[in-house]
């Protein structure tokens, strides 16, 4: 690793992603060497590179450390209930179809308490970009076991090590019907930014898992050093295999992490299926919800 020779002071508003962030809410609540910040930065860069109309981009989070992202991005941002970011986002998308709707939340939120919504939104190919930050643990509440905690890893509720099989998330998403599936670690800045940018340009249920270190709980409970050590470890353990069979990308404790773009295919989305079907069945009688929304003006 290179070291920083000299720290050049930068005023907050000069930060490259300042236009995308609620700078009036800085400093954020995340711990030093938490990985969520770099994921946010990559997402902001992707919005910039994809020249997204920010007025039409909305972000929805559930509860947890990553759940705070919706409050830091300078977009219409919804910090909702635990596990319900996906159905809330579904309502936003169907209520105003022209919106670019991103769900940005953690593993416990999206596939623990929110697992049912995750699989159904994927099944419907709902037009949502779902960014799942996986730190292998419930961090906000103090390090409890998650549906992603690798076998044998310690958590505060599995003090002798986890004996429950975790989810293989890319496989879960792909088998339920997601049309874009990728995984990166939070140190794969270029690849991650590119994946976000690419997924922004696609439609349907797009799923990107980002592996991040939790310094305060996961690293400490498992004696894995600092967050920075862990971030580096994840990056170095990454095995990039684009197009890998998602059945083979499960994550074992402190072993290789298969990264890459596993799936990128086009399939009609929920809205496309709905419009096409109603047009076929109802012809000219079909009146879709306008892209600008179902609000009726006087």
């Amino acid at each position: 690793m290179s070291t920083i020779a000299e720290r050049v002071p930068v005023r907050p508003e000069e930060h490259p992603i300042a236009p995308y962030i609620r700078m009036d809410r800085m400093p954020h609540i995340w711990c030093p060497t938490c990985g969520i910040g770099t994921v946010v930065k990559c997402y902001a860069k992707a919005l910039e590179q994809a020249a997204v109309d920010l007025d039409k981009a909305v972000i929805v989070s559930g509860i947890g450390c990553t759940g705070r992202v919706a409050g830091y991005m300078k977009l219409d941002g919804f910090h909702t209930t635990h596990g319900r970011a996906i159905p809330f986002a579904t309502g936003l998308k169907l209520g105003r179809p022209e919106l670019l709707v991103t769900v940005f939340s953690g593993d416990g939120d999206l596939v623990g308490i929110g697992g049912n919504h995750f699989i159904h939104a994927a099944r419907r190919n709902m037009d949502l970009l779902v960014i799942l930050v996986n730190n292998f643990i419930y961090a906000m509440t103090g390090g409890q076991n998650a549906p992603t905690t690798p076998l044998s890893a310690r958590s505060s509720t599995m003090p002798f090590g986890n004996f429950e099989r975790p989810f293989n998330l890319p496989h879960l998403a792909a088998s339920c019907g997601a049309t874009y599936v990728a995984r990166w670690t939070c140190l794969h800045l270029r690849q991650l930014t590119k994946a976000f940018r690419e997924a922004i340009g696609r439609k349907g249920f797009r799923f990107i898992e980002v592996i991040t270190p939790c310094a305060t709980l996961y690293a400490r409970l498992n004696k894995l050093g600092t967050g920075l050590n862990l971030m580096q470890f994840y990056h170095d353990s990454a095995e990039i295999r684009h197009g890998a069979d998602t059945r083979e990308v499960d994550i074992a404790f402190q072993e290789r992490i298969v990264c890459g773009k596993f799936l990128d295919e086009e399939r009609p989305t929920f809205l496309e299926m709905m419009h096409e079907h109603y047009r076929k069945m109802l012809g000219d009688r079909y009146v879709p919800t306008p892209p600008s929304g179902g609000m009726i003006r006087g």
Binding site: L75, D76, F78, T81, F88, G91, L92, L94, H117
Partner: protein, 385 residues
């Protein structure tokens, strides 16, 4: 403003309460419904699913009631009037995001066609035992509005009213129907669109750079910015300040929560809805709502034949409760008689407001059918003694 004609099925119809509820929603301008099938409410969304594609509405059957309610809150933030429909077990699951809707101040309507409980209870048979759940079911302090129609016609009218109230106060409005009203078929007159007054979403006129999503003026109800209009606002279920930003402090909690409560309590005079019949000079007043109000009417008739002076207070809005009216009556009558299809819920509220000034006699019923009018008559006669 006047109703959008696309959603108004003007004319004289023969409809059940569930269909009338669906028609009321569409007439009110509802254009998003998310729901999960549950007896005895499903006909509401079946009606809507058939008609929405013809008027620019979107119906989606979600994976459960947690998702249905979450989707409704999300859709409402696009300015689209939104509703979900359920019965007891689903109502329990919706409590989580009804709380979110109150905290984010999201206009929406939740219909509960009540059946017998607890748990799976009596899926196809009537109950009125979710009345306290409507008031207190989600955690924390909050206020909602709950309406109780007694007929398909009133279901249509009150569903329009429910949407208007939810827009005016930015609060979930609960349509607390019951299985009998939901499944009874009667004449329903739907006026022409220009005869139906609907409240538009009150969009802010403040420009984005000056806009604060939870700043209020005298009315305690903030102005609305919808997602996608360039306001780039934030909203959260956490305790928040007028910027919508989370603030974890005693002071902010006090401001935030007391306003949510006060915007309803302070406007109770505008919101309470009741029908007061022959209470002048009455010695006993029957208090009832929903289908039980219609059974009570017969009981009142029978009691009068026995020479008892009986008045009738029919609750149309149960929450907020018409405290003033009940307090006032309590000074003049011997007792209230409160039949309801539960083992004693709203009677407690009557008793509280009566404050010992008059008795409150419950006529409980565990559910599955309406009361035998004789049971109510007996209570009236007892109350008059």
């Amino acid at each position: 403003m006047k109703a959008d004609p696309a959603g108004v099925l003007s004319g004289v119809h023969y409809l059940d309460g569930d269909f009338a509820c669906g028609e009321g929603a569409m007439a009110a301008g509802c254009r998003f419904v998310a729901g999960y099938p549950i007896t005895p409410s499903t006909e509401v969304v079946e009606r809507i699913a058939r008609r929405f594609p013809l008027m620019g509405g979107t119906f989606i059957q979600m994976e459960d009631e947690l998702a249905s309610m979450a989707a409704v809150v999300g859709a409402s933030w696009t300015g689209t009037k939104s509703m979900t429909v359920t019965s007891g077990p689903g109502f329990s699951l919706m409590m989580e995001n009804i709380g979110l809707a109150t905290m984010m101040e999201t206009p929406c309507v939740v219909v509960n066609v009540q059946r017998g409980g607890p748990s799976t209870g009596l899926p196809t048979m009537v109950g009125q035992a979710d009345m306290m759940q409507a008031r207190w079911g989600s955690h924390g302090d909050y206020e909602v509005i709950a309406l109780c129609p007694q007929s398909p016609q009133e279901t249509f009218d009150l569903t329009v009213d429910a949407f208007n109230l939810s827009e005016r106060y930015r609060v979930p409005v609960l349509m607390m129907m019951d299985e009998c009203v939901g499944h009874m078929t009667e004449k329903v007159v739907i006026p022409p669109a220009d005869g139906i007054e609907v409240a538009p979403r009150a969009l802010t006129s403040v420009p984005p750079e000056q806009f604060l999503p939870y700043r209020v003026n005298g009315r305690l109800v903030p102005e609305f910015a919808r997602a996608g209009d360039g306001y780039r606002f934030h909203t959260t279920g956490l305790t928040h300040d007028e910027r919508g930003y989370p603030v974890m402090s005693v002071e902010c909690q006090q401001l935030c929560v007391s306003r949510l409560v006060q915007k309803i309590r302070g406007s109770a005079d505008d919101i309470v809805r009741f029908e007061d019949t022959d209470t002048e000079g009455a010695e006993v007043v029957v208090v009832a709502y929903g289908i039980t109000a219609r059974v009570a009417r017969m009981a009142i008739e029978l009691a009068r034949r026995k020479g008892v002076k009986v008045g009738f207070l029919r609750l149309i809005a149960v929450w907020p409760f018409p405290e003033k009216r009940v307090r006032d009556l309590a000074r003049r009558v011997k007792a209230f008689v409160v039949p309801e299809i539960n083992l004693g819920q709203i009677v407690l509220e009557v008793e509280r407001c009566a404050g010992g000034g008059a008795g409150a006699i419950a006529v409980p019923h565990a559910g599955g059918s309406v009361h035998d009018p004789e049971a109510i008559v007996e209570a009236i006669v007892r109350a008059a003694r």
